[in-house]
Amino acid sequence: MKFLSDKALERLREGADTPDLAGTRYRLLERIARGGMGVVYAAEDQTLARRVALKVLDVPIPGGVLAHRLNREARVLARLEHPGIVPVHDVGTLADGRVFYTMKFVEGQRLDQHIQTVPSLPDRLRLFLRICDAVAFAHDRGVLHRDLKPANVMVGAFGEVLVMDWGLAKILRDSVPAANPADPDATIFQSPNAQPAEPDATPATAVTGHGTILGTPGYMSPEQARGDIAQLDQRSDIFSLGALLCFLAAAPGQAVPPMRKDKSLDAICAKATAAAPTERYSSVGELSADVSRYLDGLPVSARRETIPEKVARFYRRHSVPILLIAAYLVMRVLLLIFSRR
């Protein structure tokens, strides 16, 4: 048997892994990143002469139920037409049977990088609200993301916010008729005999299919971390959004120390990331409404204010007219005093 040098190993691995786009309308440009469930490449759509992101799902053996489900997943995601959700353009199968799909090529920064250039807490919270819009839309269409984290949100060159990497998405209710009516499962990545990830699994390797633990530690809900797939619903994504909110509020900015959150924002974070799903917000709309109220200086549902806190919030919200009226009254009193002397 011929000895394979390290160089040969590398060439073989690369050659076997690099997608063969012959027969498609795409031309491979460069590898960008490895995301959940696959590798993302920059490619050129030679028909429309535009750059696209091409994700090849690295499910090794082609064909069969899994590939069918992945195809279906891509079709469902393609229907999530929302400015905050990266649009899927095309789906296909490579010559070696691997499923791929193409999506908009986003030029910008990941949220965790971009946020360092946003020192203002209100600006960060407005970014967060746009993420919530996209996730709420997906939930309304019966799709969970299941891997929400800063690295999966892109901020484009023109400030557009896009939620990426729906590779772990779960379809709660299928709006796309299944090609195989006998297909019983609502999810792609589920097996009746869910096995826990091995102890040495890194976050990347924990992100596989077939009922193993999905998601990213730190942003994964407790039920997701347990591999309790049956319990996953939109509140799992709300947990992740809550963790994301905490990250945004606490992440340092350019030459700016970590911001002090006040109690209301703390309460919103705490409610969103409650261990029990029943204690979290029941919808993304509720979470974003609370954050909006916080931004407007209004009381939030996550916390009951004390009277001094209500007064302080009222003052903060109306400080200018309060000071003007107080100035008027003080001035009147002073004039009265001086006129009587």
Binding site: V320, L324, I325, A327, Y328, L335
Partner: protein
Amino acid sequence: MNKVLLGLLLGAVLGAIDGASAWFTPAVRAQLAGIIIGSTVKGLIAGIAIGFFARKVHSLLLGIVFGLAVGFVLAFIVAQMQHGYYFEIILPGSIVGMIVGYATQRYGAPAAVAAPSRQS
């Protein structure tokens, strides 16, 4: 309610209240009715001007400063006519102008935008 109307009403009301506070100055108590009417008119005029300004310029700081300026000028004119009580007239008048300036910037419907013509 548009900003001009808001300025008009608020200016009039605050002007009336400001005028009524003259009751605490016994020396002018006898002329209270005239003071209230005059102060109301002063506030009304100031409010209209400040309201118009708020329609054109959308800046809280500039609105307050403009209100201060208008309130000051009108109060100064009134004080000149009274030949006295400069502090008692100008100071409150200026602050009332600032309050109206704030309110018209913060509240009140902005000027309506003309409907776009249909695309052919």
